[in-house]
Each structure stands twice: as structure tokens, then as C-alpha cells.
């Protein structure tokens, strides 16, 4: 059978909502980062899906996704580095405790 676009989009949305939920509720920065990655990946997925279904002839969506994955990797590396540094200086990765810059 021919899969409609919905079959692809629904998982993507579920993934995105999971990401949002995780981002809001988690207090651990690593968990937040993972949630962020989930949202990012769902967006990537959407790019691919729409490219495949709406503009089958072109490849921009695919290329853009690859681009985004590369950026996301760099970003994650940066975030992890910051988190590790925070952990080193205050001994915790809880967001509620990293409010030193506020004062």
C-alpha cells in the first residue's frame, strides 16, 4: 500500500512533542540537551518528508537536513563542553542551580 504523508509526519510530531515535554520538565542539563536533539531531529525529519512528498524532483530538503545534522553535532559538542565546565565549577548539572549569572 501507498503510505500517505501522515504516516511519516505523525511520528515526527510525537518525537517533537516528546522533545518539548522533556525540555520543559527535565532539570538535568544533559537530559535537556537530549530533548533538544529530539526536537531538532523531528525538524530534520520534516524537511526530508516534505522534500520527498511535495518536491520529489529536487534535493534541497535532503541537503539542508545533512547541513542541519552537521551543525547540530557541533552545537551539541559545544553544549556538552559548557555543561562539563559548569559541572566542574559548581558540581552539578541541575538548571535550577546554575543561576549564578543572574546575581
Amino acid at each position: 500500500m501507498d503510505l500517505s504523508i501522515l504516516w511519516y509526519l505523525v511520528p515526527s510530531v510525537i518525537m517533537f512533542v516528546c522533545g518539548v515535554y522533556g525540555f520543559i520538565t527535565r532539570k538535568n542539563m544533559v537530559a535537556i540537551l537530549i530533548s533538544l536533539e529530539l526536537m531538532l531531529n523531528s525538524a530534520d525529519l520534516n524537511f526530508v518528508i516534505f522534500n520527498r512528498f511535495l518536491f520529489p524532483g529536487s534535493m534541497e530538503g535532503m541537503v539542508f537536513t545533512l547541513f542541519a545534522i552537521a551543525i547540530a553535532a557541533a552545537e551539541t559538542a559545544l553544549a556538552i563542553a559548557i555543561i562539563i565546565n559548569i559541572y566542574r565549577s559548581i558540581g552539578s548539572t541541575e538548571v535550577t542551580e546554575t543561576n549564578k549569572l543572574k546575581h
Binding site: V20, F23, I24, T25, I32, V95, N99, K102
Partner: protein
């Protein structure tokens, strides 16, 4: 007429003021004193020349066919309000201004001389002479004013000079408050004067005296019959202008400042508060006389105010202890006399009266003689105070042996003011009473009674100072006559008071410039003379030697005596109104309103802003997760709206 002399008459005193005021600090007393006296002496000489030229030269500018004219020596624009309303500074010569020139410069010169002795040991001697010069300048400017606004300008200036001189001993709180009171009370009266000028000038389109007085009917018609609250606007204007005169001349109910003004040095009281400034009100009415004549209501108002004041002040003078206050109330009473005299005069012939302008002439005559003998009395009082260092007659008594010059001159002053022939007061008072009787017997009778009271309180004062009982303090500190600088003016003024009555005043000063030959009205003269003699005899009986008659009289109705002594509580009433009502209620409530309503509204607006921003600032927590919730909800809401719109 050459304008040099008139300009110098005004310029010399103001130049003296500037020289002594600015350079006085660096001068010795002697230099300052000599400069002041010389300056005033020169001014007096010039003023005499000008006045004599006016009266006796026969120049057609001044007199045509025996009628004296008003002549503007110069009149330069000072400030142009509109095309027509222009304030000039000028020099008007006419009978009354020429007479006032003589009076002011004479008294001022004598006071300058007298002060050299009297103020010898006071600090601020130079400043004192500077202020005297300022006063002389302002007063001269006032009397020669060519227009009502110039008069107002100098009117204010004499007010300030009076303020400065009353408060001369500025370290004494009583002097400070007296000067303040004098200024504010007269300022209040000047408000009326100002509004009167505004009304008058609005309708007549001129400030100039000659324009106003040469055709009073035109003034009357210019208002076009406009009325305000039942009275014509011209009545309002003239009554309000007279209010200014009431303030300066200390008429009831604006008289309260004058007795307090005696806190100033005694020569100042003689110059300002007896001879010159306080008669400015009379002078103002005389200046505007033709206009007043067409406003009957204003004339009646002047008479009533004058009559009440004259009686009130005479009664109060009988119960004062401070000799300067007795003289002050006597001044009030005598000025009120002049006011009534002007009030009963007419500018047109009336049936049964041989000369309708008699009151005017008599008022001016009395102004002249009163200036001389009242200055004499004040300067005499100054000599007494100088000798015994107290203002109260309780510290005096039996002084006739110690201070013969002062005694004799003071006696002459008393006889003059009491109206005894042949002293000057008799002649002028007789003419005034004649004018009053001619208008209505009531005014005549009432003022004769006041004249009797005058004789009584003056001789009460005289006996209590020079007879009664010798004060025991004299043994330690023997009083003696004043130095020559002080005695000389006394003697001079005493001589003037003896002979001034024989001046043919009516030939010189009348309202219309037509000479009038004075003759004694025998019935009136006999009445007033006998009343005065009876009053003097009564005073002699009561006060010549120490006895308990005065105490008995006093205890006959102690409340009345106390009330008269406290000046019928006018000061208390004013105190209450000013402090309790104006300061206590009006000012305080306005200040409160400003702080607690207007300011609070502004602060309240700031507070509302603060509270509002405080209440929403919690949303910016810095917590990214909270932002995400808001962001997510917002995105959902937007999606929902978009969806709704699309469907």
C-alpha cells in the same frame, strides 16, 4: 522755565542716596553726615527758588490774570504701555506741588541736621543718611508727578523708604515686625490704588493729571454709565484710588501700621510719619480733587472715613503712655481732619456758601501748618527721648527746669495743634471748621469735638512730661537740653509755627488757582477757641500737679480706658485675621493640598507604574524552560488562530 533746577531737585537726593549707599561704608560719619546735610540743603535751596519763582515771578507760564496755572516743566516718556497709555516721568508745578516742595525740603533738611546730633552714636549712620536721601527723592518725585502712574511709582518708593527707615534698628525684632507691618498694610492699600488706576485709565485712556482734572465731566462721560454692583465704575475707581490714600495716610481701618512705625528713629517719625509721607493720601485726593467732585459718593466716603478716624484716633491718643504713640494718633487724627476738609469742599459755587473750594484751601493750609508743628513736636519728643532714654511719659515729669528749650518749643507746638490764637494751627483749623459748618452743621460740630479732644490730649501729654512730678531718676542721670544740631531745628520750627498762620495762604493755594482772601469766621473761631481753652483748662486741672484725679477718671469706666489704651483691639483683630485665617487656614491648606494632593497624584502615578512593572517582572525569570512553555502555548494559540481563520 529752565529745566535744570527741577531736574537737580530730583537728581541730587537720588545721587546722594547712591553715593552714601554704595560708598558710605568707606566714609567716616562726619563726611557722610556733612554730605547728606549739604545735599539736602542744596536741594532745599533749589526747591525754594523753584517754588518762589512759581508763586511770585508773575511769569505767564505760571499765572495769567491772577489765576495760577498748572505747568509741566518737563514730561518725558518712561514706558509706553499702548499708543495712548504712556507713563511719563515729569515735573508738574502748580500751587500744591510748589507748596509741598517747600514743606518736604524744609522738614527734610531740618531732620538731616537734627539727626546729626540724634543718631551720632548709632551704628549705620551712613546708611541712615542714604535712606533719608532716598526718601526725600521719592517724596519729591511723588509730589511733582505729572501723571497718576508716576505718582504710583513714587508712592511705592516712599513705601519702601519708609520700610527701610522704620526697620533701621534691624536687630530689634519689634522694629522688624513694625516695618513689615507698615509695608504690607500700605501694600494692601496700594492694591486698591492700582486697581483704581487701571479702571480709570481704561476708560479715560490717559494717566495725565492735567487731562484728567481739567475736564472732569469728560471723565464722567467716558465711562459711558458703566456700573458694577450698583455703583458707577467711576465711583469704584475713585474710592479704590482713595483706598491707596487711606493706607498711606493711616485712615481707619488701615491705620494700624502708623503707631507701630514709631519703632523707627524719632527724626524719621518726624519726617515721614508726621510731616510728609502720611499726608500723601491727602495730597492724592487734592491732586484728583476735580474728579472727586463729580463723584459725590466718593466724596461722602472720604468724609465719613475721615470723621470716624479723627474721632477714633483722638480718643485713643488720650489713653497712650508712649509719647510717640500719642503723637502718632494725633497725626492720624489731624490727617483725618484734612480729609474731611477736602471731602466737604466743592468745585462749584453753592448757595449760601461764599467760597465752595474753602475746604480744599483749608485742608492744604492745615497740611502745611501741621507739617511744621507736628515735626516740631516729634523732634521735641526726640530730644526728650534722647535725654531720658525712654519713650514713656512715666519716665519723665517735671522736665521743664532741665530742658528749657525743649519745653518752650514743645509748648508752642502744643498750642499750635490745639488751635490757640495766634499760633499757626488756629488759622488753618478755623478755616477747615468753617468749611465743614458750611457744608453741614454735623461735620462742623463733630470735628469741633475732635478739636477739643486734640487740645485735651496734647496738654495731657505736655503736663505729664514737663510738670506733674519730677522723676527720681534725674538725680543719677541729669537730663539736659540737646546739642545745637537738635535745638536749632526745634527753634526754627517753633518760630515757623508762631508765624505761619499769618501767611496769606489763600492767595497762593486754591483748587482752581484763583486767589482767595482768608478771613476769620468769628462764630466758628470763637466756638473752636473756647472749646480748646476749656479742654486745656481741664487738662491743666487733671495733670498739672500730681493728684489722683486721672486714676479716678480711669477707674470710673476701666473697660473703656483699657479698650482705648489697647486701641480698641484693632491690632488683635488684624493679628487674628492674618495669622489664624490667612496663614493658618488659607496658606497652610494650600501648602497641604500641594503636598498631599497634587504631589501625591504625581507620586501616585509613579507608584502605579512601579507596581504594575513589579507585578509582571516575575515573568522574566531567566528560566528558559518557563519561556519554552510560554513559547509553546503561544505557538499553539497562533496555530489555533490560523486554523480557525483558514476554516
Amino acid at each position: 522755565m529752565d529745566i535744570t533746577l527741577p531736574i537737580l531737585i530730583l537728581a541730587l537726593p537720588i545721587a546722594m542716596f547712591l553715593i552714601l549707599g554704595i560708598g558710605g561704608v568707606k566714609m567716616s560719619r562726619k563726611v557722610a553726615g556733612v554730605l547728606g546735610i549739604l545735599g539736602m540743603g542744596t536741594t532745599a535751596t533749589l526747591a525754594y527758588i523753584v517754588a518762589f519763582t512759581y508763586f511770585f515771578s508773575g511769569n505767564p507760564d505760571f499765572i495769567i490774570d491772577g489765576v495760577r496755572l498748572q505747568y509741566q516743566v518737563f514730561d518725558v516718556t518712561w514706558l509706553a504701555f499702548t499708543q495712548k497709555l504712556i507713563v511719563n516721568i515729569g515735573f508738574l508745578l502748580d500751587p500744591i506741588s510748589a507748596m509741598m516742595l517747600v514743606v518736604i525740603t524744609t522738614i527734610s533738611f531740618l531732620v538731616h541736621l537734627y539727626s546729626w546730633g540724634y543718631m551720632e552714636h548709632e551704628p549705620g549712620f551712613q546708611r541712615y543718611y542714604a535712606f533719608l536721601s532716598l526718601f526725600s527723592f521719592s517724596m519729591l518725585g511723588l509730589v511733582v508727578a505729572t501723571n497718576i502712574f508716576q505718582m504710583y511709582i513714587f508712592w511705592e518708593l516712599v513705601g519702601v523708604s519708609s520700610y527701610l527707615l522704620i526697620g533701621f534698628f534691624y536687630k530689634l525684632p519689634s522694629a522688624v515686625s513694625a516695618s513689615k507691618k507698615a509695608f504690607i498694610v500700605t501694600r494692601f492699600a496700594d492694591l486698591g490704588f492700582l486697581i483704581g488706576i487701571l479702571i480709570l485709565s481704561y476708560y479715560t485712556d490717559t494717566f495725565n493729571f492735567i487731562n484728567l482734572t481739567s475736564n472732569p465731566e469728560a471723565v464722567l462721560t467716558s465711562t459711558g454709565g458703566a456700573t458694577f454692583m450698583g455703583a458707577s465704575v467711576l465711583t469704584w475707581a475713585m474710592v479704590l484710588i482713595f483706598t491707596g490714600g487711606m493706607g498711606k495716610s493711616a485712615m481707619m481701618p488701615l491705620h494700624i501700621w502708623l503707631p507701630d512705625a514709631m519703632e523707627g528713629p524719632t527724626p524719621v517719625s518726624a519726617l515721614i510719619h508726621a510731616a510728609t509721607m502720611v499726608v500723601a493720601g491727602v495730597y492724592l485726593v487734592a491732586r484728583m480733587f476735580p474728579v472727586y467732585c463729580v463723584v459725590d459718593a466718593a466724596m461722602t466716603f472720604i468724609c465719613v472715613v475721615g470723621a470716624i478716624t479723627a474721632f477714633y484716633a483722638a480718643v485713643v491718643a488720650c489713653a497712650q503712655i508712649d509719647i510717640k504713640r500719642v503723637l502718632a494718633f494725633s497725626t492720624i487724627s489731624q490727617i483725618a481732619f484734612m480729609m474731611v476738609s477736602l471731602g466737604v469742599a466743592y468745585d462749584r459755587p453753592i448757595e449760601g456758601v461764599h467760597y465752595a473750594g474753602l475746604g480744599y484751601m483749608a485742608g492744604m493750609f492745615h497740611l502745611f501748618t501741621h507739617a511744621m508743628f507736628k515735626a516740631l513736636l516729634f523732634l521735641g519728643a526726640g530730644a526728650l527721648i534722647h535725654a531720658v532714654h525712654s519713650n514713656n511719659y512715666t519716665a519723665m515729669g517735671g522736665l521743664r527746669k532741665y530742658m528749657p528749650i525743649t519745653h518752650w518749643t514743645f509748648l508752642i507746638g502744643c498750642l499750635a495743634i490745639a488751635g490757640i490764637w495766634p499760633f499757626s494751627g488756629f488759622f488753618s483749623k478755623d478755616e477747615m471748621l468753617a468749611a465743614m459748618f458750611a457744608r453741614h452743621w454735623f461735620w462742623g460740630a463733630w470735628m469741633t469735638m475732635v478739636a477739643g479732644l486734640t487740645a485735651f490730649y496734647m496738654f495731657r501729654l505736655y503736663y505729664l512730661i514737663f510738670w506733674w512730678e519730677e522723676n527720681p531718676h534725674y538725680k543719677e542721670h541729669k537730663p539736659h537740653d540737646a546739642p545745637w544740631q537738635m535745638s536749632l531745628p526745634l527753634i526754627f520750627l517753633a518760630l515757623v509755627s508762631c508765624v505761619a498762620g499769618f501767611i496769606p495762604f489763600g492767595e497762593l493755594v486754591t483748587w482752581d488757582g484763583v486767589p482767595y482772601h482768608i478771613h476769620i469766621e468769628l462764630p466758628v473761631a470763637a466756638t473752636s477757641l473756647s472749646v480748646a481753652v476749656i479742654a486745656i483748662l481741664l487738662a491743666t486741672k487733671m495733670y498739672r500737679v500730681k493728684n489722683d484725679l486721672p486714676t479716678k477718671v480711669k477707674n470710673f469706666w476701666p473697660t473703656l480706658w483699657e479698650a482705648a489704651h489697647r486701641r480698641f483691639y484693632w491690632d488683635e483683630i488684624y493679628q487674628f485675621v492674618v495669622h489664624k485665617i490667612i496663614f493658618g487656614i488659607i496658606c497652610r491648606s494650600i501648602a497641604w493640598f500641594d503636598r498631599h494632593v497634587i504631589d501625591a497624584t504625581m507620586d501616585g502615578m509613579a507608584k502605579v507604574t512601579n507596581v504594575a512593572s513589579n507585578s509582571i517582572k516575575g515573568m522574566q525569570s531567566g528560566n528558559v524552560q518557563a519561556y519554552v512553555i510560554w513559547f509553546f502555548l503561544g505557538a499553539v494559540a497562533l496555530a489555533g488562530i490560523t486554523w480557525l481563520c483558514l476554516v
